[in-house]
Subunit: 142 residues, 2 copies
DNA sequence: GCTTGACCTCAAGTGAACTTGAAGTGGCAA
DNA sequence: TTGCCACTTCAAGTTCACTTGAGGTCAAGC
């Protein structure tokens, strides 16, 4: 069988070598051996990395991914966990939709100052009260 | 007129005093004077804080809020900026919706291993390819 | 007048997820 | 055999948004 060296995994997965080493240290992935100093990975690691990317995209922290997605060895994913995460995403989506609508309105609104626009003020109130309270964030590009 | 001391602002806005000092240092808010050592704030600061919360909820960093939301003194919000942010939110929402659907499916899917489920693998592919690539994150509760 | 304690400043710490740098190693081409 | 250089390790640095801690001040109540 053909093993992949870290550069190849990095290239195929788009995950930098430094991150791969970091993931290995964290127990998220495992190398199958070495060629001299160099780590060798099984091609399966690519699935694993995809799974990690998926978890991260769904809002799991790396620690959560480590705990939830890979209890031991082969990934064995808890269906309830997935359903819960889906529900959580639903709430996030609802919040963001409200935000988007508010922003859209504010952008189109003709009030001289946004602070005078009732819709904007409602948004403001929601944001202040924490009814929105959470936020959408982009991953630092990678 | 009545000025608010930092504890009052903290209490009314829900933003801890330490964060208020931090915001002042960053130029996001300004105190109008002192009573002895103690900062005094105009009640207007509450609007400002709501605006900051709104910006953060919409995905702006504090630096962005400082630049975009308050070019100088009174907030003067760029409508184009708002529209852009709304569009960005739209994309985020679309991505998250896809994620949610995928998770939902995976949770219900009967394939023995998620890795054998075609829908799950498609999700995996999307996550790996960066088609999803960004993530939703919660603000640390506050 | 004196104590109290909420506020002050400034520096350092936190946590997540990596990246960067310095110094070292070893497989492979010439 | 030599030398290259992509890889290695380990420690420290980075960014964001704050929080925490130590040591200090002062308006107000008794």
């Amino acid at each position: 069988m053909k093993y992949l060296d870290i550069a190849e995994v990095a290239q195929r997965s788009g995950v930098p070598a430094s991150a791969l080493r970091f993931y290995e240290e964290k127990g998220l992935i495992a190398s199958v051996g070495r060629n001299g100093l160099r780590r060798l990975f099984d091609a399966e690691v690519l699935d694993r990395l995809a799974l990690i990317a998926l978890g991260r995209a769904a809002g799991f922290s790396l620690d959560e991914v480590a705990r939830v997605f890979t209890p031991r060895g082969r990934p064995h994913i808890d269906r309830q966990m997935l359903a819960d995460k889906a529900t959580e995403l639903d709430n996030t989506i609802r919040r963001l939709s409200a935000m988007r609508d508010g922003l859209r309105h504010a952008a189109a609104c003709s009030a001289s100052s946004h602070l005078e626009c009732p819709t904007f003020r409602r948004l403001l109130g929601a944001a202040a009260s924490g009814a929105i309270g959470k936020r959408a964030k982009k991953t630092p590009a990678r």
